[in-house]
Subunit: 356 residues, 2 copies
């Protein structure tokens, strides 16, 4: 049997916490039996839920935390209120203290990023962290980052995202030299922002050092899976992700309406029901749940706050795989192979995470 993986869990994060979190952990444990959990939060709420699942209870520790960070608190408020004492902070602290391999929360993204940055600190050589999404495409899953950890990015920060995204692709997809594209409004060299053009020059020179630089890609290249890693600034990444989610929901609604339209179409839907159910599972946003905070001295996963136990199961499974595939070692190795000296890390400030 392989060594166990310990996941530090903010049991109070998200709209349906702690119930959805504990039920999700029960499902995750059934799939990966050597998972161990440290749940942080209000004991009186967590422990009764664990009574339902003896196997999960046996694989878990509960650590009491009085303070719960609300979804609408500003990162600076959250830090003042919850540093050292909140379930969110304690969840991250367990990774810093090497008690857990990875931390996960479905709570307030801005607060989580601020606390993770403050507690774990950015890696040497990385100026600030990014949030990576694992995006299903026609070819295979790919990595897109930054999904909104920060608004705006200069050329060096885009290059940092390329390094971090490549490391994540190497860890998750067993690819030795993943392809990297810079998201832009046109593939001709003439177009786009200065920061993107400058990042393109740096990546062209560095191509081969743990990744293969593909060039510029456009919005529709994401769904095609043209490259393994799509790099963009956080505002654009967030808009792209949510626009894609909205479009997928829109098309699914059209399909449902079409199949209900006539008697013939309803009969057709019956015959095709198992295929249509497979499609529904494929398009279920809960099966791809989890943003990965990259660039810190430890792995932190953000689950969707509004998800249910199926969503938590996915995010916990992702957390497990990150730890098992030794993501942190791959990040270090990719940075080591990168030929260009990067700037020294800045001190993290609260304002950096404020906009996340």
């Amino acid at each position: 049997m392989t060594d166990s993986i310990t996941i530090s869990v903010d049991a109070m994060g998200g709209d349906h916490a702690p119930r959805a979190v504990i039920h999700g952990a029960h499902l995750a444990l059934k799939e990966r039996k050597n998972t161990r959990f440290i749940f942080h939060g209000i004991k009186d709420q967590i422990e009764p839920l664990l009574e339902e699942f003896p196997a999960l209870k046996a694989a878990s520790i509960v650590r009491h935390a009085d303070v719960v960070i609300a979804m609408d608190e500003k990162p600076s408020q959250a830090l003042r209120k919850g540093k050292g004492t909140s379930s969110m902070w304690m969840t991250i602290q367990a990774v810093k203290d090497k008690e857990a391999d990875v931390a996960i929360s479905g709570g307030n993204t801005g607060a989580l990023m601020a606390m993770a940055t403050f507690c774990l600190r950015p890696m040497e050589g990385i100026s600030r962290p990014g949030i990576a999404a694992i995006w299903p495409t026609l070819r295979s899953d790919i990595i897109v980052l930054d999904m909104g950890a920060t608004i705006g990015a200069d050329a060096q920060q885009l290059v940092d995202y390329a390094i971090l995204g490549s490391a994540l692709a190497r860890a998750l997809f067993d690819s030795d030299s993943p392809s990297v594209g810079l998201l832009n409004v046109g593939t001709e060299e003439v177009k786009g922002l200065e920061s993107i053009k400058e990042a393109g020059k740096i990546l062209t020179e560095a191509s081969g050092a743990g990744f293969t630089y593909h060039g510029f890609v456009e919005g529709d290249d994401i769904g095609k899976g043209t490259v393994d890693v799509v790099v963009t600034e956080g505002f654009v990444g967030n808009i792209a992700l949510k626009t894609a989610e909205g479009t997928a929901r829109q098309v699914a609604t059209y399909l449902r309406q079409s199949l209900k339209a006539t008697l013939m179409s309803r009969i057709g839907a019956l015959f095709a029901s198992s295929a249509l159910n497979a499609l529904r599972r494929k398009m279920d946003p809960r099966t791809v749940n989890g943003g990965v905070f990259m660039g810190l001295n430890g792995i932190v996963i953000k689950s969707h706050g509004g998800t249910d136990e199926i969503g938590y199961k996915s995010a916990l499974g992702l957390s497990y795989e990150m730890a098992r595939s030794r993501l942190m070692d791959k990040v270090g190795d990719t940075m080591h192979r990168f030929p260009i000296n990067r700037a020294a890390p800045e001190q993290p400030t609260d304002s950096e995470a404020k906009s996340a």
Copy 2:
């Protein structure tokens, strides 16, 4: 019978020009019989195509233009080469000269924007033009702009887009006070870029003057149709549009694969075939083809360059409706009702359109 609408057409614009253009005009004329066309381009190529369609030939004038702007020419090059002489320039010039009600081209977007801006000039009170898309949503069609006329926008420019988009919504959707949202990464007031926050303040004060300000919207609000007009800066708008196109194609491919997977699903697809065909038509990107250049002294429509005659038919129909609904009057009226003095228009420069 109503007065006819005259469309000035760049017969040489797009990958399949002039054949797809002329065939598209033939289809458009069948739907809207009081359309008149002025085709600009190489006579020896256009006239033989018109011989196939006597009704179209009778409704058309052909103006010879030797110079054709290539898809990969920079806007500045295109202006130097084609000012006054190219099919693209002459197409726009016909609107300036009041010979036509609206101009359309499937050519190079950056060149078209540069020429349109140079020839028609921005409207008084609008600092620079934007490109609006008509976006199908679960509720109804909505307007999203800017789709990439310019990269970056300050608060005043976002406000200009809100005015222009509202006017377009009033012209196309018969809505007296369309709702306007600013695209942002979160709906809380705390989030987002300074320019967006500042624009939000101005629009809050001006709400009621030809539009109703809704507040911030996120990427998934586009597909939901939360508001009638979504305002964003051009880089983000372009990425959002192409990401949505890519996602729609991705889901359509999944559906096709699912329905082919088993014998039962193939039987189901047969029963549901007319419903599935209706869905296919609904999702066909050719049926919503055409970006509208807003903020100039005249209407210019950009068709997708890669589209076929069906796409041109849609874009020509859109052109017709713009002219018929007196879009320019509605823009003037919306600007007139807006309570805040706007900055004087800048002189258009080539670099503004370079990135489009």
